[in-house]
């Protein structure tokens, strides 16, 4: 029994002290690891790592501190006020958050490090003394000012060292290293130094009359010590494992990126010598240095043919790199699929004749327009047709058909059927995978890179279609791919479903681009048209306006249409914005281009409650189309 007003002599449970040091080291290690993750993460992931990291680290520091407090035994029972305990946890988390934020910046000067450590050190001190204030015991607690000051200074100094160490070892790419472990040991040992100095600063004088507010006080049993320890170790363990996994995945991503960069670099470098081979072989074939004998000429032609093959392989490799890094450029337009097909078929006349393959193409004249990037569709057609020719024996047949897709009338389907060797059913999906090759090309000769179908699949799916094959071994294969039909309704429906302000109507804006002194070249015309389109996009409000693709094929590169959901005032503002934007563009001025902007409103229409959205969009689209036709017609009459 203790007598009143006696200084209480505390003692330490060294097992718990050791446990607290261990937790401190582990928390430090987690902190070092987290700093690296926060640094390498971007955007949302960064915020997630910062928050999660601050919580785990704060929890670790706090738990070290609490186990340290519990290691301190007084001869009288001690209880803890849990709201205050929670408050001290918050202080630890905030301090850790600040620390992680500071060390994860790209630069950390002395001033920033000092500021960071002042915040972090004070945060730890606040946590510590708030924790002490949570103690409820029949004793007066007094502090030695010198030791308190010392503990705060220690907290700041230790924080500084910790920040500095963390900042300079965070870039370690491996999950663990001796350097990191040493840092963790130093930091982990230093944090308890601050803590136990703070503990030494307090002396307790027994005073049975003092109880403090015990309404929220709880006593701490050895079971709860074990609980805190287990929870802490689990939290830190999870953090370290997550960090390990994250590191592993980001390393993989980096490797992939390096591989793609390497691929891209190699492909470029290959082109230069290839270019020289092509040049000189073609110089020989063309007889510039003197006529070749027929046999010689034939051999040089073989060289040229192989150069072309290599060239297309390099192009494929580059295309795959673009797909992988997400730089594949697809610009859908309102185009005639039949035109794209006819263009492509013309390219194959020679190779079809060489193998005496008969090609039957059936393309209905009234095929609706598609909404695709024509050059990308041509690429797919070229891939499929060259495969068909490659795998069809001499004298075989190839059939090409196109029609509205039976299973989904919003798509067009193209079918290319050959009389080749066919594809075994078990590989009919595999052939669209990257680097898949037929194991036995047979008569077809060379294997090639096996990228053509993979590229085709990417091109088709990115335009909203799909690609597949059906086949009968020894009889032939049919490749199918679908492309979306052009639908004005689906293009403009986003602005129709949008919340409508009273008085809003559908406006059609027309921007006409004219060249005063004629177009210098077709290239210049395409280029200026692209510039104008980009400018126009800048003026539009997402969800309210939509720029239509080229609305009539052929010569009207310089007509741009915008459909907008707006009122008279809004349309006025928009056309002013467009005029201003075009007026300010130097490149268009230099090219001597003039612009006229006009707009008109469709007859007012509103959707009745019973009308389905699709039907409504269809009606609006029909009216927009009619409007545009009138505008184009009016323009034709003028010129």
């Amino acid at each position: 029994m203790t007598s009143p007003d006696m200084v209480l002599v505390g003692s330490y449970n060294y097992l718990l002290v050791a446990l607290s040091v261990l937790i401190a080291i582990l928390a430090s290690y987690a902190a070092l690891d987290l700093a690296g993750r926060v640094t390498s993460a971007q955007g949302k992931a960064r915020l997630l790592w910062l928050n999660g990291g601050a919580m785990a680290m704060g929890f670790g520091i706090w738990s070290m501190h609490y186990i340290g407090m519990l290691a301190f035994r007084l001869p009288i029972p001690v209880q803890y006020d849990w709201p205050t305990v929670l408050l001290s946890l918050v202080a630890a988390i905030v301090a850790s958050g600040i620390a992680l934020f500071v060390v994860s910046r790209h630069k950390m000067g002395v001033i920033r490090a000092v500021l960071g450590s002042v915040f972090m050190g004070n945060g730890i001190a606040i946590m510590h003394y708030t924790g002490m204030a949570a103690m409820r015991l029949a004793a007066m607690c007094s502090y030695s000012a010198t030791l308190v000051t010392l503990s705060v200074i220690l907290a700041i100094v230790i924080s500084f060292v910790a920040l500095w160490l963390t900042f300079y070892s965070r870039e370690e790419t491996t999950a663990w290293s001796w350097r990191k472990i040493c840092c963790a040991l130093v930091m982990g040992a230093a944090i308890p130094v601050m803590h136990y100095t703070g503990m030494a600063a307090a002396s307790f004088t027994s005073s049975p009359s003092v109880h403090g507010n015990r309404s929220h006080a709880i006593s701490v049993s050895s079971l709860s010590v074990a609980g805190v320890t287990v929870v802490t170790l689990t939290v830190l363990g999870i953090v370290l494992l997550t960090s390990l996994a994250d590191r592993w995945f980001s390393l993989q991503a980096l490797e992939l990126q390096l591989k793609d960069e390497f691929l891209s670099h190699v492909s470029h470098e290959l082109r230069s010598p290839l270019s020289a081979i092509y040049q000189f072989a073609s110089i020989l074939v063309d007889g510039i240095p003197g006529e070749l004998r027929p046999e010689q000429s034939e051999y040089v032609r073989i060289i040229l043919r192989n150069v072309r093959q290599l060239e297309s392989m390099i192009a494929d490799l580059l295309e795959v790199t673009r797909i992988r890094v997400g730089k594949l450029n697809i610009e859908p337009q309102r185009v005639s699929l039949s035109d794209a097909i006819t263009d492509t078929l013309n390219m194959f006349e020679g190779s079809l004749a060489a193998k005496e393959i008969a090609l039957f193409a059936s393309i209905p004249g009234d095929l609706p327009l598609a909404y695709v990037d024509p050059s990308r569709v041509r690429q797919v057609l070229i891939n499929l047709l060259s495969n068909a020719i490659k795998f069809t024996a001499k004298g075989g047949k190839i059939k090409l058909q196109t029609r509205i897709f039976e299973k989904d009338p919003s798509l067009l389907v193209v079918e290319i059927a050959d009389t080749g060797r066919g594809i075994r059913p078990e590989v009919s999906n595999l052939i669209f995978e990257r680097l898949y090759q037929v194991t036995d090309p047979g008569e077809a000769g060379r294997k090639g890179l096996g990228l053509g179908l993979y590229i085709s699949k990417e091109l088709v799916t990115r335009q909203g279609g799909s690609i597949w094959v059906t086949s009968e071994p020894q009889k032939g294969s049919s490749f199918f791919f679908t492309v979306p039909l052009f639908s004005l309704a689906s293009l403009i429906s986003p602005i129709l479903t949008n919340e409508v302000k009273p008085g809003d109507a559908i406006a059609v804006m027309l921007v006409e681009m004219d060249s005063q002194d004629g177009w210098p070249s077709p290239d210049a015309r395409i280029e200026m048209s692209n510039v104008a389109r980009t400018l126009l996009q800048l003026c539009l409000l997402p969800d309210l306006d939509v720029a239509l693709p080229k609305m009539n094929s052929g010569d009207a590169q310089e007509l741009f249409f915008v459909v907008a959901r707006t009122n008279k005032h809004g349309a006025e503002v928009m056309s002013r914005r467009v005029r201003e934007q075009f007026r300010r563009c130097e490149r268009l001025q230099i090219a001597g281009l003039t612009f006229t902007v006009s707009y008109s409103f469709l007859s007012p229409m509103s959707r009745s409650v019973s009308e389905p959205m699709g039907e409504f969009a269809g009606h609006v689209a029909a009216e927009v189309q009619e409007h545009i036709n009138t505008m184009i017609e009016a323009r034709r009459v003028l010129t």
Binding site: L274, S275, A276, I283, D286, K327, P522, E527
Partner: protein, 137 residues
Amino acid sequence: MSNKTILIVDDDPDVRLGLQVRLKANHYNTIFASDGMASIAEARKHMPDLIILDLGLPAGDGFSVMERLKANDSLALIPVIVVSARDRSANRERALKAGAKAFLQKPVDNAKLLAVIRKALGEKDLAPHVVHDLGEV
């Protein structure tokens, strides 16, 4: 018969020779430079009628060469055709913006190259079907 002079700028001697042989056969005079700096010096000295320009060059790449040509009043009007091994999709737009008349990817098709040259020099075209295709060059 054309007696126009074309400056070939490429750091690869084989490519230079190949182009020279091809252009000579089509009655063009050729002069050479193998880097960015030299190309400007040669252009100043000889005032060529046209420049065939590679993009990846030592001592100032093709883009900076075009920039410097543009900045010089007497050189600004010389038409430039870019012939490069670099990726078409990433560089064509940029080259045209920088002032090139056309972007051709190596290995460049001879018929296309000659058509582009004739067009840039304002000469009468001998192969109209090729020119029709220039938008795709």
